[in-house]
Amino acid sequence: MSQALLNSITVFVLAAFLGIELISRVPALLHTPLMSGTNAIHGIVLVGAMLIAGSADSTLEQALAFVAVVFATVNVVGGFLVTDRMLEMFKRRPDQQEEHE
């Protein structure tokens, strides 16, 4: 096994445990925003799409990479904005008393 693969597997396994640990006590009211937020986070494929688009040689690769960049950008930008719009709704009314934050 190459060192690169071993490193990748290490990161993968630790991130998998962390992902489960992070949300194990989330209240039901945040399920939708959380799904939407993590949805935006897997838009990180944009990084991969950019690397491919920046080094594509053939027309086919360029076409595939271009669509991948568009798709991934929609995922990232749309995902974060929609999540923010949802969470904005949780703002309290100014005339309401402050509650425990």
């Binding site: 190459s2 690169a4 693969l5 990748s8 993968f12 991130a15 962390l18 489960i20 949300i23 989330v26 209240p27 039901a28 009211l29 399920h31 925003p33 959380l34 799904m35 937020g37 993590t38 949805n39 935006a40 986070i41 897997h42 990180i44 494929v45 944009l46 799409a49 950019m50 690397l51 491919i52 688009a53 920046g54 080094s55 594509a56 040689d57 086919l60 360029q62 595939l64 990479a65 271009f66 669509v67 991948a68 960049v69 568009v70 798709f71 991934a72 950008t73 929609v74 995922n75 990232v76 930008v77 749309g78 995902g79 974060f80 904005l81 929609v82 999540t83 949780f90 009314r93 509650e99």
Partner: protein, 467 residues
């Protein structure tokens, strides 16, 4: 290359980005910090993207700039214009394109690395095939989910005889095609794999009823995360592995939590064909005898509410569609002014997604302390004078508790039928999203107030003011 930046610097930046994503998810899981969590995650994303641009591997920028420009315009426009009620299908759409991107990256890398000479590392080949397969399934599955929620496709399950056998055979065939693609490194097999996976995604989601869609979207969200992580193995990129795996793992857990809220296992959701046509037909024609229900006028209902001590409002998707949440709050305000105790009962899957209803009521400035979870409010119903059910259906169906034959049997419900009186605001007698008739409507203590939820609520407000 804009600047000379070493790979070490980029990897350190990826580490910082990964930390931001982790802190972001952590903050997203608590109400008071959620909004800042989303911002922190977005900052992490910006760090990852900016340092990727500085990578020595990139020798041309025009495709990236053009793609990001187009994607930003589309993403901003759709996120800004979507109504709060249409949020679930928007999430499905964004999830689908993410999966599509992962599959396309895999296809492009396959084309670049595989001239048929067999010098592709097996781990790279395996990860590419995995990304292509899972990414495509996530793409087409999400599109079908979007179509169902947007009502472009019928919301009820589309089933045909032997469907599960066909799906099983197709999946086995896809694994075979994957092996062939890996062994021969021939582009044609990659194309067959992508096309077959797209078809599989469609067939996987078509038989799933609208009511189960949130669970499916959450599952496909986890799929896209894994596909993204897998492209990280192909490109040996830590940022991709961290981001993708976090979503893959947390998405899987979230899917299980949602399934648990509906008392349905994942296998049951995927293969159970919730509200299958046979069951619906049986319920609708119930021994050929028309069941009778009682209709009530807005004025009578308003009097009942105005002179009650305890009222529980049970909001559902119908309320959201009619944009009646502001009217409901107004109604609650008037009732409270008269000394009526008003609570809101929120079923874990009210609306189209867990937590969707909380978002919609928060939009209408309904104070938090009035929102009650199912477990907390169910013991209250026997002491409740009027349960006001607005556009909710399946989550109040007593058949889920009483009728082992019902497809809903076992799903935890709000026991509104235990209240002294139930007033159901509903457009007509048509069955709910799952396509199942609701016994509640035929109970002696239930009265139906027909009409658009917003109109009905406005009439109630006017009548309560007069009462």
């Amino acid at each position: 290359m804009i600047l000379a930046v070493s790979q070490t610097t980029i990897n350190l930046a990826y580490l910082a980005a990964g930390v931001c994503l982790i802190v972001g998810i952590k903050r997203l899981s608590s109400p008071s910090t959620a909004r800042s969590g989303n911002v922190v995650a977005a900052v992490g994303m910006v760090i990852a993207v900016v340092f990727t641009l500085l990578s020595p591997e990139i020798d041309s920028y025009w495709l990236i700039v053009a793609g990001v420009a187009v994607g930003t315009v589309v993403g901003v426009a759709s996120a800004r214009m979507v109504k709060m009620t249409a949020m679930p299908q928007m999430v499905a759409l964004f999830n689908g394109v993410g999966g599509g991107a992962a599959a396309l990256i895999a296809a492009a890398e396959f084309h670049r690395l595989s001239p048929g000479s067999g010098h592709v590392l097996p781990e790279h080949m395996g990860a590419m095939l995995f990304s292509a397969l899972i990414g495509s399934i996530s793409f087409s599955g999400s599109m079908v989910a979007f179509g169902k929620l947007q009502e472009l496709l019928p919301g009820r399950p589309l089933v045909f005889a032997g469907q599960q056998v066909v799906n099983g055979a197709l999946f086995a065939a896809l694994l075979g095609v994957g092996v062939l693609a890996g062994a021969t490194e021939a582009g044609v097999w990659m194309v067959v794999l992508l096309a077959g996976a797209l078809l599989f995604g469609v067939l996987l989601v078509l038989p799933i009823g609208g009511a189960d869609m949130p669970v499916v979207i959450s599952l496909l969200n986890a799929f896209t995360g894994l596909a993204a992580a897998s492209t990280g193995f192909v490109l040996e990129n830590t940022a991709l592995i961290i981001g993708g795996t976090l979503v893959g793992a947390s998405g899987t857990l979230l899917t299980i939590l949602m399934g648990r809220a509906m008392n349905r296992s994942l296998a049951n959701v995927l293969f159970g064909a919730f509200g299958a046509p046979a069951a619906v037909g049986a319920a609708a024609t119930a021994d050929g005898e028309a069941k009778s229900y009682r209709e009530i006028s807005a004025e009578d209902a308003a009097v009942m509410l105005a002179y009650a001590d305890r009222v529980v409002v049970v909001p559902g998707y119908g309320l959201a569609v009619a944009q009646a949440q502001h009217g409901v709050r107004e109604l609650a305000d008037f009732l409270e002014r008269r000394g009526v105790d008003v609570k809101y009962a929120i079923h874990p899957v009210a609306g189209r997604m867990p937590g969707h209803m909380n978002v919609l009521l928060a939009e209408a400035n309904v104070p938090y302390p009035q929102l009650y979870d199912m477990e907390d409010v169910n013991p209250e119903f026997p002491r409740t004078d009027v349960a006001l059910v607005i556009g909710a259906n399946d989550v109040t169906n007593p058949a889920a508790r009483e009728d082992p034959e019902s497809p809903l049997y076992g799903m935890p419900i709000l026991n509104v039928d235990a209240s002294a009186n139930v007033v159901v605001l509903k457009r007509s007698m048509s069955p709910g999203f799952a396509g199942i008739d609701n016994d509640l409507f035929y109970r002696p203590n239930t009265a139906m107030l027909f009409g658009d939820a917003k109109d009905s609520v406005d009439r109630l407000v006017a009548a309560v003011k007069a009462a």
